[in-house]
């Protein structure tokens, strides 16, 4: 938190605007943590952005790389960050000093939208709200390890951990049963279920009828058999990070580093799951507040420029701000006019449907409900409609190897929706789980990729295995599909192998 102190306090004219915007936001029913605004210079903002929004984090080269990209983009006028908000209680938001006054108004209104979303959306309900402190503590811990074990040693280990940072179970915070079942069962409790194979015999005949060496050999055979048949873990584990943390031969400092990376991965996961909604919600509110209350005549051009820039859509990427705000507006409109439910869905009369308006007036209530319960995947699944797709000229595109180009694939609603849902499932990442932590009874790690038609990037997969090997210290494998053939990619510390699975 120390570095927050060097930022400037909000100058009086901005403090006035903040009070004003906060009042408007509350007036519309937004509900947020206390929000602290800081005005920062461009390079400070780029710095904070490089650290994922946090003023203090652990040291790592990739933050430097990130910063360089941001700083360059800013210097060349290609991009500009207007604002940054941290999901924390209190919320911290950073304003770029060079923003025009109108920008600052807009940004503040936007920030209150985010803060409301952070506080109320279900997917953030398990998030640590003191993450600002937590991140600083993580930084302290890792710096301490670096002091003891060397910067490079620790940094290289962080590299390895980051390779599996997205192999977490994004639903885990909501599941409580998990942590116990992952733990290996004690394997030494063979004695109590002493096997049959023992013949009844009088005491003095015992050693002849049931020779001890035969019995113990039999017991050993069973034990091996059972151990081999026993799945470890008993079910595939999606939280690969946790599995590695609990079962890899890590030194205490390494386990600490890995647990830090995992904690942070869980902190950032809900943001990845609600990007469209979160940006859409914030944009909805900045535009509502600004157009109804905030804009003075002198603000108009600047507002329009900024807002249209934020909403710009492209043929290659859906702008989450644009998609989000339009969907919220669409929902509001539909629920205001009663365009939902059985009667509306089953109506075949085009004209009647076109003019449908029951004056239900439920729009506002509905969008607040949506922002509370949904994440992006559910949001698109439930509220992306055929009409919406047509109105906004959506299409799906894909890679055509024949032309080595990306092409428009379809304008059909089901395909578009499927593509969007697919890209949002597991945040667009392959689904991977631990299948076996004692593969071939040799303590090797075996992962499985749940194949859904899309192949992994082989080079990346191999490099990831190399990093995973550094954590697990025994050969590592992943079963996936390459060229339509089930294949296991393996790395044993020296070389890569691909084995086709019969």
């Amino acid at each position: 938190m120390a570095s927050v102190d060097v930022f400037e306090p909000l100058p009086p004219h901005l403090a006035d605007i903040q009070r004003q915007m906060e009042g408007y936001a509350r007036g519309h029913g937004l509900d947020f943590f206390p929000t602290i605004f800081e005005v920062v210079e461009a390079d400070q903002l780029n710095e904070v952005a490089a650290y994922g929004g946090f003023p203090t984090r652990y040291p790592h080269w990739r933050f430097g790389m990130e910063f360089e990209q941001l700083a360059k983009g800013y210097a060349y006028g290609l991009q500009k960050i207007y604002e940054l908000v941290i999901n924390n209680d209190p919320c911290y938001a950073y304003l770029m000093k060079s923003n025009e006054l109108t920008d600052q108004k807009l940004v503040m209104a936007h920030v209150y939208g985010h803060c409301d979303f952070f506080k109320n959306n279900f997917w953030f309900s398990k998030t640590n709200r003191k993450m600002m402190d937590q991140m600083a503590n993580h930084g302290m811990r890792i710096r301490r390890h670096m002091d003891r074990f060397g910067v490079e040693e620790v940094e290289n280990f962080i590299d390895a951990c980051l390779s599996i940072e997205d192999l977490i179970d994004i639903h885990l915070p909501f599941i409580k049963r998990h942590e116990e079942s992952v733990k290996p069962k004690a394997l030494e409790d063979d004695a109590h279920d002493e096997p049959s194979g023992r013949f009844a015999a009088k005491g003095y005949m015992e050693s002849f009828v049931n020779p001890p060496e035969v019995l113990s050999a039999e017991a050993e055979r069973r034990r091996v058999e059972r151990r081999q048949s026993e799945q470890f873990p008993s079910q595939p584990v999606r939280d690969v990070m946790l599995f590695v943390l609990e079962n890899a031969p890590l030194k205490p400092w390494q386990a600490d580093v890995l647990s830090i990376i995992r904690d942070e991965a869980y902190y950032f996961a809900p943001q990845g799951q609600t990007k469209i909604m979160n940006e859409g919600w914030a944009s909805y509110w900045h535009s509502t507040i600004m157009t109804r209350q905030g804009i003075q005549p002198a603000d108009l051009i600047c507002y329009c420029d900024h807002h249209s820039g934020t909403m710009a859509s492209s043929s290659t990427r859906l702008n989450p701000y644009k998609l989000g705000i339009e969907l919220f507006r669409d929902i509001e409109d539909r629920w205001n006019r009663g365009r939902f439910g059985k009667d509306f869905d089953e109506c075949d009369d085009y004209v009647a449907k076109h003019h449908w308006d029951t004056a239900a007036g439920l729009g506002k209530q509905k969008i607040f409900e949506v922002r509370r319960i949904y994440n992006d995947l559910m949001f698109i699944d439930e509220f992306l409609t055929l009409d919406f797709c047509r109105q906004h000229k959506l299409f799906s595109f894909g890679y055509n190897p024949g032309n080595d180009a990306y092409e428009i694939e379809s304008r059909e609603f089901p395909q578009i929706k499927e593509r969007l849902l697919f890209n949002l499932t597991n945040m667009g990442r392959p689904q991977i789980a631990v299948r076996d932590g004692n593969y071939k009874n040799r303590g090797e790690l075996f992962l499985e990729h749940t194949f859904n038609g899309l192949e992994l990037k082989t080079g990346y997969a191999q490099d990831t295995l190399v990093n995973l090997y550094r954590l697990w210290a025994r050969p590592v494998h992943i079963e996936t599909v390459i060229d339509e053939v089930k294949t296991t990619l393996s790395y044993d510390g020296h070389e890569h192998k691909g084995t086709q699975v019969k």
Binding site: H60, T316, F397, Y406, E409, P430
Partner: protein, 369 residues
Amino acid sequence: MLKIDQDGRRFKQIVRGKVRDNLRKYITHGEMIGRKGRNLISIPLPQLDVPHFRYGQNGSGGVGQGEGEVGTPIAGGAPQPGQGQGNAGSDPGAHILEVDVSLEELAEILGDELELPRIEPKGKANITDEKARYTSVRRTGPESLRHFRRTYMEALRRQISSNSYDAGSPRVIPIREDKRYRSWTTTPMPQTTAVVVYLMDVSGSMTDEQKQVVRTTAFWLDTWLGSQYDGIETRYIIHDAVAREVDEETFYHTRESGGTRISSAYKVCAELIKQKFAPSEWNIYCFQFSDGDNWGEDNEQSLRILREELIPASNLFCYGQVESPYGSGEYIRALRSAFGGAHDKLTLAEIENKEGIYDAIKSFLGKGK
């Protein structure tokens, strides 16, 4: 100081470490380096990102917005940020990060790695260069520098003054005359200058492969010298039996069938220096490349011009003898016997093939002249 500086330094350190590790490879295969603009070059570095399990290119795709039929290619090439161009899926392990390194930085690495001494420029000429600062607004410029507010204010002003502004429907549409752009003013900067003259034998015995060696060597020479001076000028002279000054393109792509008369190039070079680059004002560097096959009776004249005119005028005169399919010529031996092995301003190197570039650069620039 910003906290990020530490991580930024660490990142640069890693980049530099990688570049340094691979420097011999880059030097040998100059074509690996892509030029970007005047001062940046991009260097392909293996693996500067953290690898993750990701979908390959056949899995990339998404949803976009706009006009177009099914099958219409969409603009902008690879739509997923961070994904390299080309066949990402089919080249296992070959993902490569292009890192932008400034020429200065590269020169510094080169200097460190080859242990090149810094050059002490002579005769600080009072020539000035200009440096740009964005301080003003003009009527012309690139769209990326468009000044939005000023443009709209101009449009509004024009509409009001021409009575076409309608307060009821306040549409302000800028036309070309309204547009305003941010612009720069230039301020003079003092500068010391150098001229680099490349001389190359383009007679039949010099093949494309040898010219490639010359080209790669020249890139590194330019990089280093460019880092030592505020501005360098480069001139090119080709010769067979006769010589002429040419542009860079011609320099590398001319092939003649005639014989070889090195003195002809020396004459052109000496004349050039006399006309344009007074040794009192300019730091002069001459790099001559040849396969060393000179007409025997020409040697005497060549050595004379070299001794009397070129060497005295130059900071450094370097001769690189590039081995050709027809073997290596005698010229380097003639130079050795005339000037001795260690001459203050003259450096000789035999470049057998691409692998020899590294050592040639080291010996050319190792004198710190």
